[in-house]
Amino acid sequence: MNLTPSASQTVGPFFHYALTTNAALGILAGEGAQGERLRLVFRVVDGEGAPTPADSMIELWQADAHGRYGHALDSQSCNADPNFCGFGRLETDSNGTCIFETVKPGSCGGLQAPHINVAVFARGLLKQLHTRVYFDGEALNANDPVLALVPEDRRTTLMAKPTPGQANTWSIEIRLQGEAETVFFDL
């Protein structure tokens, strides 16, 4: 049998009471999680530069500090950090912002630089947008096979940067459209 995947439809503006009631999904790194803890701040901005007012949602999927995914397909999953949950989900607030507590992921598969997989859902998005967060200044970025697919002048849109004056905090803007539009991937 060869079935066609069902079509996506927008999450709309009223998803909160079903999808984002559990604020604990903003905390990927539980007590005792291994690795470098960090706060990751997202801000989602539309094509007019306006923050998406509380009607977008970010989902994260990432490896633990040793680059292991808690999933059967990862041969290292048995050793994945039990105090770390690789999945996160938060709604954005009225400034288009949400903050995850996580750890810096390790390099997975030996080749890829540390990165966090991101899906963006919003009113006005008929299907989710996929992007990745990399860490500015990370030496492994130079050889990352996915970054190599991205034109050099656009790679900066994928780089989280340390937030000035706030320890262990990294920030990234998701620009849905326009000048410095974030690089989105076709999966």
């Binding site: 079935l3 995947p5 009471y17 999927w61 009113r123 996915v146 999966l187």
Partner: protein, 234 residues
């Protein structure tokens, strides 16, 4: 590691679908970059952190009194591209009440709220990929997208399959609804067959006598030749 098949052209909506006005400032305008599927895309959350309550799949039992409206059963299978049921898939849904109003602080449609209806449910598919909800039929509602714009009655679905690639948020519609022809959200999908697959089917065999009409809605998630699912007890 096997990559998943790519999406068939026309079977998914375009980001920029000007009939749906909000896409105009939110759709990315630069071409997306094709990403080979790596371990990052082919793994995904094994959803266990939101505990599922025994009545989470019956939206008519969440309050002391039953909600207003027409009680219905919505059930079906979550399938992969090979037609195999997807077991242990997380299914979340949400909807407006029978009058077409969401229990949401920013829904200002002047239709009555129902104190006995929240409109959110969730469950995990069984070993054959089956799911089943009891709810009430949602009402149509106006949405100011254009003059006299009304959304057809619909239920929002959110699904996690075996991988981050197979993540899907979609909407289920009802058969024979005259608003379907006029809806820019449904028509953002160009392929007519793909549109029709978002419309549920009335099913007499699922209908319970003296109780509730049954609507069948199957959903296909991306993925083939699913790798054997292994439990790592936590």
């Amino acid at each position: 590691m096997n990559e998943y098949p790519r999406m068939k052209p026309g079977s998914q909506p375009e980001f920029l679908s000007p009939g749906y006005k909000s896409t105009i400032v939110r759709a990315p305008l630069r071409p997306l970059i094709a990403l080979p599927h790596t371990l990052s895309e082919l793994t995904g959350p094994v959803y266990g952190h939101n505990p599922i309550g025994p009545t989470d799949n019956d939206l008519t039992l969440h309050f002391a009194e039953p909600p207003q409206g027409e009680r219905i059963i919505v059930a079906g299978r979550i399938l992969d591209e090979d037609g195999k049921g997807v077991p242990n898939a997380m299914v979340e849904l949400w909807q407006a009440n029978a009058a077409g109003r969401y229990q949401h602080k920013r829904d200002n449609h002047p239709a009555p709220l129902d104190p006995n209806f929240l409109g959110a449910g969730r469950m995990i598919t069984d070993q054959d990929g089956n799911y089943r909800f009891v709810t009430i039929k949602p009402g149509a509602y106006p949405w100011r997208n254009h003059h006299n714009a009304w959304r057809p009655a619909h239920i929002h679905f959110s699904l996690f399959g075996t991988a981050f690639v197979s993540r899907l948020v979609t909407q289920m519609y009802f058969p024979n609804d005259p608003l379907l022809q006029l809806d820019p959200v449904l028509h953002s999908v160009r392929d007519k067959d793909a549109q029709e697959r978002l419309v549920s089917q009335f099913d007499l065999s699922m209908t319970e006598p003296e109780w509730a009409l049954g609507y069948r809605f199957d959903i296909v998630l991306r993925g083939r030749k699913a790798t054997p699912f292994e439990e790592h007890g936590k």
